[in-house]
Amino acid sequence: MATVLDREPATTTPGSPTRRRRVPPVVWLIAPSIVFMTLLFGWPVVAGVLQAFRGEDGFTLEFVGRMVGDPYFWPAVRNTLLLIIVLIPVQFVLAISMALLLRANPRLKNLYFFLWAIPLAVSDLAAGLVWLAVLTDRGYLNSLLDQLGFEPVSWLAFDNPTTLFAAVLVAELWRATSLVLVIVVAGLQGIPKDYDEAAAVFGASAWQRLWHVTLPLLKPSLQVALILRTILAIQVFAVAQALTGQNFPVLVGETYRWYRELQNPNVAAALALVILGVSMLTSLVYLRVLRDKSRETAS
């Protein structure tokens, strides 16, 4: 099964003109997107991002230095990376399990799918506010514990980094697993159930069917979901800020802080470049690593 990268060009139909010096159709198809993005974002990105290096006397690395020297910078990098490393695998396992549960066709399947997709519709600011109301000292979770007879726990206390991290993890898990779920479900639609049934007839266990039949066929969707989810996870901000304030710094939170409170767009641009760099690097890694080496021809 080829990935987005490796499809052979579709063979031409009989009677179509042979290659002359004309613009290949690919260009017409992707040109609108390139033109649109360049027009809308070209100059703002150049102007905004170059601020990271433009001081009063021209090119300077002063702002990069200030960014690195800030006491919150390395904790923000560590927290963001930690979140990604723990969150992404858990989310993918959860989302794939959810999709497979749905594929098993239980009753009320449509209701379950709808409920599981609802967190997609919730904005990240609203999600942060909801989980804050659940986890705060006098919130719903502690109300429940209190009614069950337990002592309320201070989940969001600044001196308990473990529960802080766990709180952000759970809130992000709730909010963003639907994204992966919807992509995986869309991808599963394209897999006819005959492959799975044939494997079952030949005696493959459920796990073997999953690992050798379903997942490889799902690779394009998983690749897209991984890229998108990682980029968005690097930018997690509203939930972390709502739940933890400044006690759990993350990269985008630091960008906002430098831009808004410290009124320093140059250092904020430097931080944005760091985020961009990390995102591009991980995307490139996903594109290369998840590329399917087997090339199938159209016949």
Binding site: D6, G48, N110, F114, S123, D124, V130, I183, L276, S283
Partner: protein, 282 residues
């Protein structure tokens, strides 16, 4: 004759039933995790303000009041900003699909140099926090005269949603076998007709998924809409930042009201997303 038939082996039936039960249990457990916060938003949005100040908070609807939602819905510009958000969402959907689907087709069907750089280029807008672009972006729209219109918001949101549209739709196009498309062309369809009659219906789940992401992102996007509009704001730009400063009751009322339209959209698109489940080779 009364030959005794061998006893029916009920193990496969038991195993089947047990699996069905396990599947249901799994679904219910996950639904509990996903749905409980939603239940709490609804509960709190319709509680009176006093009841939200008590401890322990009531977990069942005992003090129902539509006061906070009512006040929230009466704030200045709510209905107008709702209209603006709908306009922006619809416009973004149309534009993003119109530009994105052809590009997705190209990504899926053609191998060309620069595929990786093209995909990375697309991801730029999602990978860069646009807060640092606030002033240049607003300046661009000011000089072109589109500042403070829904067109500006549509433009920005389309640029933000093109990556998801193109990449998701491309991954689903890949699942459509080329043979079927070529067969259609052999039988005399133009490439465009082959696309429309053969590929698009089979790729509908991907297009539906991409449209859900597009609409939801446009609906919830707050920073860009705040920067690019002044008097014609979308609903989040008008409301979301003030929500964070408001009292608890309003946060829930606002959060609840903001979620409803996006929910309706998902309910509508759901059908297209799962319309091919379990079908056999087409």
């Amino acid at each position: 004759m009364t030959a005794t038939a061998p006893p029916v082996d009920r193990t496969p039936l038991r195993r089947y039933r047990r699996n069905r039960v396990l599947v249901q249990v799994g679904c219910i457990a996950i639904t509990a995790f996903m749905a409980v916060p939603l239940y709490l938003i609804t509960l709190a949005a319709f509680s009176s303000r006093q009841s939200l100040n008590e401890f322990p908070l009531p977990l069942l609807p005992t003090d129902v009041s539509a006061e906070t939602i009512g006040t929230f819905l009466r704030s200045t510009g709510i209905v107008a900003s709702l209209g603006n958000s709908l306009l922006a969402g619809a416009g973004t959907l149309l534009l993003s699909t119109a530009i994105g689907v052809p590009a997705a087709y190209a990504l899926a069907r053609f191998a060309f140099r620069g595929k990786d750089p093209y995909q990375l280029f697309l991801l730029f807008t999602r990978a860069l926090p646009i807060v640092v672009l606030s002033v240049p972006l607003a300046q661009l729209y000011l000089t072109t005269g589109l500042y403070d219109t829904t067109y500006a918001v549509i433009g920005l949101h389309t640029a933000l949603t093109l990556p998801t549209t193109i990449l998701i739709t491309a991954s689903v196009f890949l699942a459509v076998p080329v043979d079927v498309e070529e067969a259609a062309r052999v039988f005399g369809c133009t490439p465009l007709q082959a696309f429309r009659q053969v590929v698009a219906p089979m790729a509908l789940p991907g297009i539906a998924a991409a449209s859900i992401f597009t609409f939801v992102l446009s609906w919830n996007e707050v920073l860009g809409a705040s920067i690019l509009t002044l008097t014609r704001r979308t609903l989040p730009a008008q409301v979301l930042t003030s929500l964070a400063d408001s009292s608890l009751a309003y946060r829930f009322a606002g959060g609840f009201a903001l979620v409803i339209p996006a929910l309706l959209f998902i309910a509508v698109m759901r059908r297209y997303l799962t319309n091919m489940w379990g079908s056999t080779i087409r």
